[in-house]
């Protein structure tokens, strides 16, 4: 098995597992991330799309900042920081393993629902490790299960991740709600995505998304109108002010057509000068193709494409 012939990231990780590889796989794309392998097993995954094990420990206050900094100062090798936390009596070995393992699966899920990119291999980097590590096949199977579980009327989990749920009046007053759901409700404000809530609460992205679907099913939150259907507002093509062509062709009725109804797209006149900046406004960002970034810029010599 050589990494150059791996068709996708799961195949690459499986190949590296069979080789007993220790090192780092850097994955591009959105959100992308870093996968740490030790002896072929996945010891940690870090991505901007989900809180790390460190965030999960510090944000809810399982460990306070001073204790954490003191531990980092006492054990400068991050690979051995977990063993130090256990030896110092700050956490149980099983509890630490649970936090780190959960973080591996959550980060893999966050990467899988994003836009796939390429990868490069690198030397090992010190990080907080999840016990002996996770077998790639198990990680792939669990990630697939999670994606299936969170596919629903809103579409794929990637669409759900872009929704900014809104509050329902008096939802917090509903009796019989577990504390966990109440804490999620306290972060719902119509502006936060599931990822924002995950970082705010120091919980996993998948757990938050699952709780949101359950809260929505109980009519305790509502999906903001058009939140998922309009795609990503921050990167949507800019609609420039100007005259509207009277003979514009009818728009197809698709879930993404709501924006077109609100402001019909201008029509290019043959031979005429288009509005300044129009061409630039309609171009995809560098490295992203129209099919969800599948034409992303290739990675280095060892690179390839594919999501988990």
């Amino acid at each position: 098995m050589t990494t150059a012939v791996a068709r996708n990231l799961p195949a690459l990780l499986q190949g590296l597992h069979e080789e007993g590889y220790s090192g780092t796989v850097r994955v591009s794309g959105s959100p992308g991330g870093t996968i740490h392998l030790r002896g072929g097993l996945i010891g940690a995954v870090e991505t901007p799309g989900a809180p790390t094990a460190t965030s999960v420990l510090l944000t809810p206050g399982r460990l306070d900042d001073e204790t954490w900094l003191a531990a980092c100062a006492a054990e400068r090798d991050t690979d051995r920081l977990g063993a130090y936390l256990v030896a110092a009596g700050l956490m149980g070995a099983a509890e630490l393993e649970i936090v780190c393992t959960a973080s591996v699966f959550d980060a893999a899920f966050a990467m899988a629902i994003g836009t796939p990119g390429g990868w490069t291999l690198d030397d090992p980097e010190p990080t907080l490790l999840a016990g002996p590590g996770v077998e790639p096949r198990r990680l792939t199977e669990e990630t697939t299960r999670r994606i299936v579980r969170l596919s629903g009327p809103w579409g794929a989990p990637g669409e759900l991740a872009r929704i900014r749920p809104g509050q329902v009046p008096d939802a917090g007053l509903r009796r019989g709600l577990p504390d966990r759901h109440r804490s999620v409700l306290s972060t719902v404000n119509g502006r936060r995505t599931a990822r924002d809530m995950a970082f705010t609460l120091g919980r996993g992205l998948y757990a938050i998304m699952l709780d949101l679907t359950r809260l929505e099913a109980q009519e305790l939150i509502r999906w903001e109108t058009g939140g998922a259907a309009e795609g990503r507002p921050s990167t949507a093509p800019r609609v420039l002010p100007g005259p509207v062509a009277q003979d514009a062709p009818p728009t197809r009725t698709t879930p993404t057509a709501s924006a077109s109804k609100a402001a019909p797209l201008p029509k290019r006149t043959p031979g005429g000068a288009s509005w300044p900046g129009e061409a630039q406004a309609r171009e995809s960002p560098p490295g992203e193709g129209p099919a969800g970034g599948r034409n992303a810029s290739p990675a280095g010599s060892n690179g390839g494409h594919g999501g988990l």
């Binding site: 999960v56 420990l57 809810p60 206050g61 399982r62 149980g92 070995a93 099983a94 509890e95 630490l96 393993e97 649970i98 936090v99 393992t101 959960a102 699966f105 959550d106 016990g131 002996p132 669990e142 299960r145 999670r146 579980r149 509903r174 009796r175 019989g176 709600l177 577990p178 504390d179 966990r180 120091g202 919980r203 996993g204 998948y206 757990a207 699952l210 709780d211 359950r214 109980q218």
Partner: protein, 121 residues
């Protein structure tokens, strides 16, 4: 390779009649480890979905407080789900399968409840 979670769970098999135990994330359904007959403990994702459904239905019925346990009994087996609160983290489920002929349900459940905090140590 035995993990720290599995090493903790093995100790719970000492109780008479307990044939398999697993530690499951109560929200995501991820199984962190199992000991004994893992099939007897049950599938982690299904255990979590079942517990979530029960919490929801109890809530709609006006029940207050957090779920503590779910006990299911068939002619030959008991299956017990014990909720394990975790400081600063999502709750866990300790899933245990018991042989009905050998296990005293009340004693075994109490024993599991008493020792469940040891699992995280």
């Amino acid at each position: 390779m035995t993990t720290a979670v599995e090493a903790s769970l093995v100790r719970l098999l000492d109780s008479p009649g307990i044939t398999g135990v697993a530690l499951v994330d109560a929200v995501t359904g991820l199984t962190y480890g199992a000991a004994g007959d893992a099939d007897e403990a049950g599938d982690g994702a299904e255990c979590a979905e079942l517990a979530a459904l029960i919490v929801e239905r109890l809530g709609r019925a006006g029940a207050e407080g957090e779920l503590e346990s779910v006990i299911m009994t068939s002619t030959r087996r008991h299956q017990v789900l014990l909720c394990v609160e975790r400081p600063g983290g999502d709750p866990l489920l300790l899933a245990a399968g018991m042989d009905r002929e050998r296990a005293n349900l009340a004693l075994a459940t109490r024993s599991l409840g008493d020792r469940v905090t040891e699992v995280l140590s």
